[in-house]
């Protein structure tokens, strides 16, 4: 039995301890905002917050999550996620959309740590998030825009 919380809700699961958190979220809890792109920590589509830090859920076995707090895009709250999503929508960042939950999660984590990131900060924080549609120009712009809103 593995016990943890997801988006503030207690979860107890009797499941193969090797099962990646990604598939638990998707198949068992039906939280489908978290996406699958590679399964080997190469694309960032599966990014969630684990105890407040961004984490690739595809390579996080459920056994490692025991006692932790998991937050998915469905459960994110706070000024950073609001600023990020507002900025994303204002300039229509998404194309196919598959990577975007992960992009939004990583961008939010970045702004939580560095409120006014430079281009270099963005390159470092977002390096693990692939966008096959290459919406990178707008991702960069939206992060800067969100940072400005947060400065108020």
């Amino acid at each position: 039995m593995t016990s943890f919380t997801v988006n503030g809700r207690d979860v107890d699961l009797d499941i193969d301890p090797d099962t990646p958190l990604l598939w638990v979220l998707r198949d068992e809890l039906r939280l489908t905002g978290t996406k699958f792109g590679c399964g080997v920590a190469q694309c960032g589509a599966c990014t969630v917050m684990l105890d407040g830090m961004p984490r690739r859920s595809c390579v996080t076995p459920i056994s490692m999550v025991e006692g932790s707090e998991v937050t998915t895009i469905e459960g994110m709250e706070g000024p950073e996620i609001t600023a990020v999503q507002t900025a994303w929508e204002a300039i229509d960042v998404p194309q196919c959309g598959w990577c975007q939950s992960g992009q939004v999660m990583s961008a939010t984590a970045l702004l939580q740590q560095i409120p006014s990131p430079t281009d270099e900060d963005i390159n470092n924080a977002m390096a693990g998030n692939v966008c096959r549609c290459a919406t990178y120009v707008r991702i960069r712009q939206a992060i800067h825009d969100a940072a400005k809103t947060l400065e108020g």
């Binding site: 996406k35 190469q42 390159n123 390096a127 096959r132 120009v137």
Partner: protein
């Protein structure tokens, strides 16, 4: 929805409001007879107006990021005079009669997305559909209010009669409108009266895609559904000789294992169990008909084939003039197989219940897939429903003439031996190793200059596999050569003197497919880098040299080349340690020229900026056009820098995931500046045309900066 009633002239009225069902072949209105069994989501409709005023447009082209939900809805909203906030979009289900793509010809009606045709083939059709609905709303209001229709105005979703002070939203009129006759050929607006076309209306799918709420195939769950992964042969053309599923069946969650034509299917109660079960399989493969040549060996054969000249597919004067040239240049180019790698790997959900099959997935050729599924399951076509939903990218991968994914899903359902729901999931490894690649290609080019540096002859021989041969699309070739193999080598606008284009058709069990911009992915590179090299050898500037080769009537070609030179401040020389290169490619009716600025970072090319000029006729949504150019640049750049699919000697694919088939990262993405040419020509597509000019412009900039010519892609390494 309450009971439907059939009304005159084919309109369907019911609790859900007005459904306008019409197809407009050859621009002529033709109302569809209402099917007795029609339901609110019946397929024979483009527009649905609900009592709550929302207008839903049934989008016949797959939304995979290129923007048809927004673009096609804009066309309807424009003529309907709707308010943008009331517009919604939904994927149209498979129905060839209603939703065929006129750009694919009419000999065989195919509902499908490809060739950047969504806007081009829908432009008048969607506008006429919107105009007809508007006319019916107006007629209904005139009848209800007892006023002349000519005095009624429609603006931003409000139908109004000024003199009487009456006004209404669409929803309240939809029932009455449904009873009005269908206008045969409703007039559409003059371009000068456009309110929405040409503006940056917000995309309809942005919010759902920013909040994680958008529903893609992998997000579909049905009661009792099993997830299925398939062990495919490691070599193309191999088949199952024998298999042992004992260990797989012991994996907790694995329910069954079945042999299907494409491999061994493992069915489980969750995705991880299915993958683990597949890992536990032991399969012996029969390689008798498999491709066992490696990439190096294949390139040797391709090289011999281009040397032999191929069959002539385009020719004007005798290419023998090259013998009189003062100077001859020659080059041979090698292009690898490429995977599309949409970020959502292939997947499909199928449910078979009591002799009917339903599917949900990001389907790009709905009617082709529907026929295949019906055939595999032995069902009449009407009993197969394909619900087309959002796709997490495609770039051509989901447009399968072979319908192999739908067929695999149907085989899985069939092999289960029972009714049930199944989600077929391909992993990234399945995707990269699974074939349907951009064909590997070799180009041989020769050009001759006279003593004054004028080009007097040009020969280009291309060797690759045919994409269309062996699929239902082959009928479109009408026995001729497959132009998707050499498009862009043929049909050049430049005056190059005597010209011969040859094609050598290669054969292999490796499956190939169109990959974002198809033939132009390699012809654009070979032609535009070689031309650059020739112009420089003749002492000419790459921009002026190209302009000089264009005939007087090549106005749009000239337009984008001049525009990109202008916005990039083209000087023709390197400055501040940066090199500049230009390329121009017309593809799918759209004209694009790009200039690349490049730096040499310890021998590695780094692109800092790209300027792009695009002429796609009337720009329906400039924001979407810019987004597609930006995305096309990034997609092409990542590929040119890093990507190749290679076969080891013996025939196995050497790449498996993004560590060895790398995607462009944000740190590699240049700034992109886009100029859209103002035009009143009919609109053409933008999904693909941003791709072809990038790699050649980059190679030209790199050569200008370093002197190094790049005859192989990717840049990151020679292909052994």
């Amino acid at each position: 929805m309450t009971a439907m009633q059939t009304t005159r002239r084919g309109f369907l009225a019911g609790g859900a409001g007005l459904m306008l069902a019409m197809t407009l072949p050859l621009g002529k209105a033709r109302a569809q007879a209402a099917a007795a069994a029609a339901e609110p989501f019946a397929p024979n409709a483009f527009i649905r107006i609900a009592p709550d005023d929302t207008v839903t447009v049934m989008i016949k082209h797959l939304e995979m990021g290129q923007g048809p939900y927004t673009g096609l809805s804009t066309l309807v909203a424009e003529e309907l005079d709707a308010d943008w906030a009331q517009m919604r979009a939904e994927g149209a289900p498979a129905n060839a009669a209603e939703y065929y793509n006129s750009a694919f010809g009419t000999a065989l009606l195919i509902q499908g997305t490809g060739g950047s045709t969504a806007i081009a083939n829908s432009y008048m059709q969607m506008r006429k559909a919107g105009a007809a609905a508007r006319a019916m709303l107006v007629a209904a209001a005139a009848e209800e209010w007892g006023v002349p229709a000519e005095e009624i105005t429609v603006k931003a979703g409000v139908v109004a009669h000024e003199a009487s002070g009456k006004s209404s939203g669409f929803g309240a009129l939809s029932q009455a409108a449904a009873g009005q006759p269908v206008p045969e050929d409703p007039p559409v607006k003059d371009a000068k009266d456009f309110v929405l076309i040409g503006t940056d209306v917000p995309k309809l799918d942005t919010v759902a895609k920013t909040t994680g709420k958008a529903v893609f195939t992998l997000d579909v769950f049905r009661d009792g559904m099993l997830t299925v992964v398939v062990a495919h042969p490691p070599k193309f053309g191999a088949t199952v000789a024998s298999f042992d599923d004992k260990a797989a069946l012991e994996v907790s969650g694995v329910e069954m294992v079945r042999q299907i034509p494409s491999g061994i299917a493992v069915y489980a109660t969750n995705t991880y169990a299915a993958m683990k079960g597949r890992d536990a399989l032991t399969v012996e493969w029969d390689d008798v008909n498999a491709e066992t040549r490696g990439t190096a060996e294949l390139f040797e054969e391709y090289s011999k084939a281009v040397a032999a000249g191929g069959v002539t597919v385009e020719e004007n004067d005798d290419i023998a003039v090259l013998e009189d040239a003062a100077q001859i240049l020659e080059a041979e180019y090698q292009f690898p197989y490429l995977a599309h790698a949409p970020l959502e790997p292939l997947d499909a959900v199928i449910e078979v219940k009591e002799g009917k099959a339903d599917m949900w997935y990001g389907c790009q050729f709905p009617t082709v897939d529907r026929g295949t599924v019906a055939q595999v399951l032995g069902l009449p076509l009407e009993d197969v429903t394909i619900n087309v939903i959002l796709a997490g990218g495609s770039f051509g991968r989901r447009a399968q003439g072979s319908a192999h994914l739908a067929a695999e899903a149907a085989e899985i359902a069939k092999a289960s031996g029972r009714d049930g729901a199944f989600k077929l999931v391909w992993t990234r490894e399945d995707d990269l190793k699974g074939g349907y690649y951009r064909p590997m290609t070799v180009h041989k080019l020769r050009a001759g200059l006279d003593v004054d540096g004028n080009i007097i002859g040009w020969e280009n021989v291309v060797a690759n596999q045919s994409i269309m041969t062996g699929t239902p699309m082959e009928a479109m070739l009408q026995g001729g050569p497959d132009a998707t193999s050499f498009e862009g080598s043929s049909g050049l606008p430049y005056n190059l003197g005597a010209k011969r284009i040859g094609w050598a058709k290669m054969e292999s069990p490796v499956s190939v497919l169109w990959w974002r911009s198809v033939g132009h992915t390699h012809t654009g590179y070979a032609v535009e880098t070689f031309l650059d090299e020739v112009l420089v050898a003749a002492g000419k500037d790459p921009v002026q040299g190209r302009l000089d080769l264009l005939p007087a009537d090549a106005v749009r070609e000239r337009g984008v080349i001049e525009k990109v030179a202008e916005i990039s401040g083209w000087t023709g020389s390197t400055r501040d340690g940066k090199g500049y290169g230009i390329a121009y490619v017309k593809s799918f009716g759209t004209y694009v020229a790009e200039v690349v600025e490049i730096e040499n970072r310890d021998g590695v090319p780094h692109i800092t900026k790209v300027w792009c000029a695009v002429d796609c006729g009337i720009p329906v949504n400039p924001n979407v056009i810019r987004a597609q150019m930006e995305g096309g640049v990034g997609f092409a750049l990542g590929t040119a820098l890093h990507d190749r699919i290679t076969l080891a000697p013996g025939g196995e694919v050497e790449q498996s995931n993004f560590h060895d088939y790398p995607m462009l990262r944000i740190s590699e993405m240049p700034e992109v500046e886009v100029a859209i040419i103002q035009s009143d020509a009919d609109p053409t597509g933008v999904g693909e045309p941003g791709v072809p000019p990038l790699a050649p412009a980059m190679a030209n900039a790199w050569r200008a900066l370093t002197g190094t010519k790049q005859y192989q892609l990717p840049f990151s390494g020679a292909i052994s």
